[in-house]
Amino acid sequence: MITASLRAPALLAALTLSLSGCIGSQGRDLPDLGTLRDTFGLGGAETLGPSALDLARATTPQSMAALGSDLLIVEVPALGLATRMVPVGTTGGVTSWQDDAGRHEVALSQSGVLRSTRGMVADLMSSDTGMTEAALAARRPGNVARVMVHLDGELRDSPERHLCEIARQGDATLTLAGRSYATAIFRETCLAEDDSAYVNRYWIDADGMIRQSLQWISPEIGEVRMARFSP
């Protein structure tokens, strides 16, 4: 289930920013705002709120060099959350990324497929996304199955098997912190056990790394949007 969150104030702010960006553009050091708007959605309908855009704007090659590791900008519209995350630990082939205060976490496979979340109230507890990862790595559309585990009302693990279809949706060039990535766009349409549907989208670069994505967490929280910057 997708939680669409077009909000008039956010859209207005995005437009204002883009206008001011046009007027005050500084040239090379700032990311291209047109690309940023496209970075987190399809066209103009699902743009980032201003705070995530601000984070993205402030992510420059210089700041990435100072950081020395990859960086995620993460937005969860249902929680009003926009934050930066860095990798904090890897085990079992999965890397946990947390924000500065350790309040929120996403756990991603090496390529960037979401495996679990923490601190997002109704979290994705764990998952098995092996088939999705293999299909994306091979850039092969088709049918896959994934296991998604949430907690039920009694706090018991409630695994669900979702059947998904992966389709190719074209290409896009992304500019993240001054670096340019030629990405292939994939769309994964999944059916949950209550017959509701949700869609995950992935922008995958030439090395198989997911540079940008929208991935579903849970029925209550909806999707998380991520963009991955490298130094």
Partner: protein, 754 residues
């Protein structure tokens, strides 16, 4: 449509230095959530009123049956052959001129509904008004579910333990019609109070002629199940039809030959002008159902019912920070991980500081009692203050160990300390943690590989022994309290509000001192009626003179005790408590509990010698003293049911046993009932015949979504008399120890890596 989402509360700052890079400003911005807030009562549950969790969409007659005036699935007075959602707890209030019923019902099994009712019945005769406060229990079983052309069929007994004012049994069938189940047609046969008019000879008389007569109810003291009355005597039919007129409005029409008035009040003018009852019910979604009815051809009645379901929490998630992440160890060098660190100077201090810092980062929900390590194995002793699910506390402990202990430590052991007792030792291999943390259902995988045993089966590693600050703990508090007394025959609700001062000191070595004093500020408890005093031949008034305690004290010591806890053998724990054990008794209480870490059964033995305390709640005692004690069996029956059986001697010197059955939920909710039978005869016991009651536990985190071990709830007793009265001593071993044994860790395992 998905259920409304919570507005995220202030997320706690985890503390500790998590700043990982300095080139940015703080990048976290958390704005006000865009979602609808939860309705206000969810933030302030107070006793009976609660929410129907779940969607706000009105549901069909079949999925969401109407709650009848007696709190069971039905129409108006009559039942239907339906069931509520499994585990629903429903509160119903209903009334008309002089007759008021308040019912608490519970869907204990998917097809069995039970209820407890408190009624205020006022009957007017020409000269006097007769008021009676009545307590009754019902049971309703949907034996057959609607299928094809076959209707649902249910059988039930109303007021089967009680004084019999409302007693009757029925068999009923219901059929839903229409593409969306808009119409429900019901028909049934009833006995007892259901068969007052238009009766016919009992059809069951064909099986046995004794069915044709119904023995007079020996009203007696009430409280007995008069099983030999069931389904006997003349019968009458009842029927009804219900129509879902709009999404929120239902209309009901009922044909009833019932008369819910006791025969002994035949002089009373309870007039029934018509056998047809009409009603309409409006669905308020989460706020319940409200109904207006025209009954008996002459009366207007109102009803309100609201339900809460333990499996649908008020907050569908956890409002807390992310946990400490786990990073797998680098691959070991050829000669294995370095083991020399144990001997390095300052290793103990470094480790202790690291663990204390990690506990702080984790939010301070647990405190360090001790850490014992050698190069391969580490045993961490913690006190869990805030995690309501014990498996989550275990998971957080394992994360802390993985983050702080050097790579050579492969075996992790966690011991949770409660009241100075090592409750159990849980052993998990670090490799299993690293491998299973992110696996789908990795929590279950990890618990399957974990070993849970008595803490003393193996000894702790001895190379480095680190003590936390926690060796002695002092806590105190000052808080308001509310004390309720329900069902006093002349006052259904008495209360006191006041200030409670509490203090607790754990000396170490298993010694615990605890005290609570109450100072009532205002209230009506002093008006409680003294129940019948000392009966000749009856039991000593160990409980029934509670009114004297309320009247004679302005402030009182609730308890003032010194306890000692010890583990004397693997899986055997002991407790010795002396002092002022509870409000009415002081003395000595000793207990032994045998609870193997992997077992579903535990056994205990408790022996007490107590003196009755003075009514003024101070330090004096009276002449009455008694030795009491019980042998207890605690049994996990599986399928979410737990039972407890106690056999022994009670406070009035009577011998007997108590059986308690509880339905438990993995999130901490518990709903149960108990009954005690002793050699105090039903006549000697007095009204109610034997001690029985309902227990209810609601975990606070279910309402708030935050980390807290606090619970609310209590015991509802229709009457508190003197037979089968047990000493109410705090800190009994089973409650302290069972949380950390394997069965409960497995029940809560979904939260292990939360």
């Amino acid at each position: 449509m998905h259920p409304p989402l919570p507005a995220p509360a202030r997320l706690r700052y985890a503390g500790g230095d998590r700043r990982l890079w300095g080139a940015f400003h703080d990048g976290t911005m958390l704005r006000r959530a865009l979602l609808r807030r939860l309705p206000l009562p969810s933030a302030a549950l107070a006793g009976a009123v609660a929410l129907i969790a779940g969607g706000a969409l009105a549901q069909s007659l079949r999925d969401s049956p109407t709650v009848n005036s007696y709190g069971l699935p039905g129409l108006l007075d009559m039942p239907t052959a339906t069931s509520f959602d499994n585990a629903n707890v429903t509160t119903t209030v209903f009334g008309f001129d002089g007759i008021y019923h308040g019912t608490l019902s519970f869907q204990v099994l998917p097809d069995v509904t039970v209820s407890f009712r408190y009624s205020d019945l006022t009957y007017q005769t020409r000269n006097t008004a007769f008021e009676h406060w009545d307590r009754s229990f019902d049971i309703h079983w949907q034996a057959i579910t609607e299928d094809g052309w076959w209707p649902s069929v249910a059988v039930g007994a109303r007021d089967f333990i009680g004084t019999g004012f409302l007693s009757g049994e029925y068999v009923v069938a219901t059929r839903h019609l229409g593409s969306r189940d808009q119409v429900a047609v019901t028909a049934g046969i009833g006995w007892g109070r259901f068969a007052d008019r238009n009766t016919f000879t009992n059809p069951l008389g064909a099986i046995d002629p004794r069915f044709e007569t119904r023995p007079d109810r020996t009203i007696g003291q009430g409280g007995e199940a008069e099983l030999d009355q069931f389904f006997r005597g003349d019968a009458a039919v009842f029927a009804g039809i219900e129509w879902q007129a709009t999404e929120d409005l239902r209309l009901q029409l009922e044909y009833s030959n019932a008369r819910f008035v006791d025969d002994s009040l035949s002089t009373v003018d309870f007039v029934i002008d018509s056998d047809i009852n009409l009603g309409l019910t409006y669905d308020l979604g989460q706020w319940g159902q409200v109904s207006a009815q025209y009954l008996y051809g002459n009366t207007i009645a109102l009803r309100y019912a609201v339900a809460v379901n333990p499996t649908r929490p008020a907050v569908p998630g956890l409002i807390a920070d992310a946990p400490i992440p786990v990073a797998a160890r680098p691959a070991p060098p050829a000669h294995g991980y370095d083991r020399a660190w144990v001997a390095a100077p300052g290793a103990a201090t470094t480790l202790r500081d690291a663990v204390e810092a990690a506990l702080l980062t984790d939010g301070g929900a647990m405190t360090l009692v001790g850490l014992n390590v050698d190069a391969d194995r580490a045993t961490l002793r913690l006190r869990n203050l805030a995690y309501p699910q014990e498996a989550m506390a275990l998971g957080r402990a394992l994360r802390i160990m993985a983050a702080t202990l050097p790579a050579s430590v492969e075996m992790f052991e966690v011991i949770f300390v409660v009241a100075g007792l090592d409750t159990s030792r849980v052993r998990v291999a670090r490799s299993d943690v690293e491998r299973n943390l992110h696996q789908a259902s990795g929590a279950g995988l990890t618990m399957a590989l974990a070993e849970v045993e008595g803490a003393r089966v193996v000894s702790d590693p001895a190379t480095l022994e680190i003590a936390g600050d926690d060796a002695s703990r002092f806590t105190w508090g000052l808080a308001p309290y509310l004390e309720l007394s329900l069902f006093d025959p002349e006052n259904p609700l008495l209360y006191d509000v006041g200030i409670a001062a509490s203090a607790r000191f754990e000396f170490g070595g298993g010694f615990v001192a605890s005290a609570i004093a109450h100072l009532p500020v205002f209230g009506t408890l002093g008006e409680a009626r003294i129940v019948d005093g000392v009966q000749p031949g009856g039991p000593f008034p160990v409980r029934s003179e509670s009114a004297l305690y309320h009247q004679a004290s302005d402030g009182y010591i609730d308890h003032l005790t010194l306890s000692h806890y010890a583990t004397v053998a693997p899986d055997i724990h002991t407790r010795l408590t002396f002092g002022y054990l509870e409000r009415m008794f002081a003395g000595v209480s000793g207990e032994v509990l045998w609870h193997p870490a992997r077992s579903d059964i535990a056994f205990g033995l408790e022996v007490n010698h107590v003196w009755r305390r003075d009514f003024d709640g101070g330090f004096g005692v009276q002449d009455y003293d008694v030795t009491t004690g019980h042998v207890s069996a605690y049994i996990d029956l599986g399928n979410d049911f737990e039972a407890q059986l106690d056999l022994g001697r009670y406070l009035a010197g009577d011998w007997g046993g108590t059986f308690a059955l509880e339905r438990t939920f993995d999130n901490g909710w518990r709903v149960g009932a108990f009954a005690t039978l002793t050699d105090v005869s039903f006549e000697e016991f007095g009204e109610g015949s034997f001690d029985k009651g309902i227990t209810l536990t609601v975990p606070l985190h279910w309402l708030t979504g935050t980390q807290t071990r606090r619970e609310g709830g209590g015991t509802i007793r229709p009457l508190w008399r003197d037979g089968g009265a047990r000493l109410d001593v705090d800190g009994r071993l089973y409650d302290l120890v069972s949380d950390y044994q394997r069965p409960n860790l497995v029940e809560t395992e979904g939260t292990l890596w939360r």
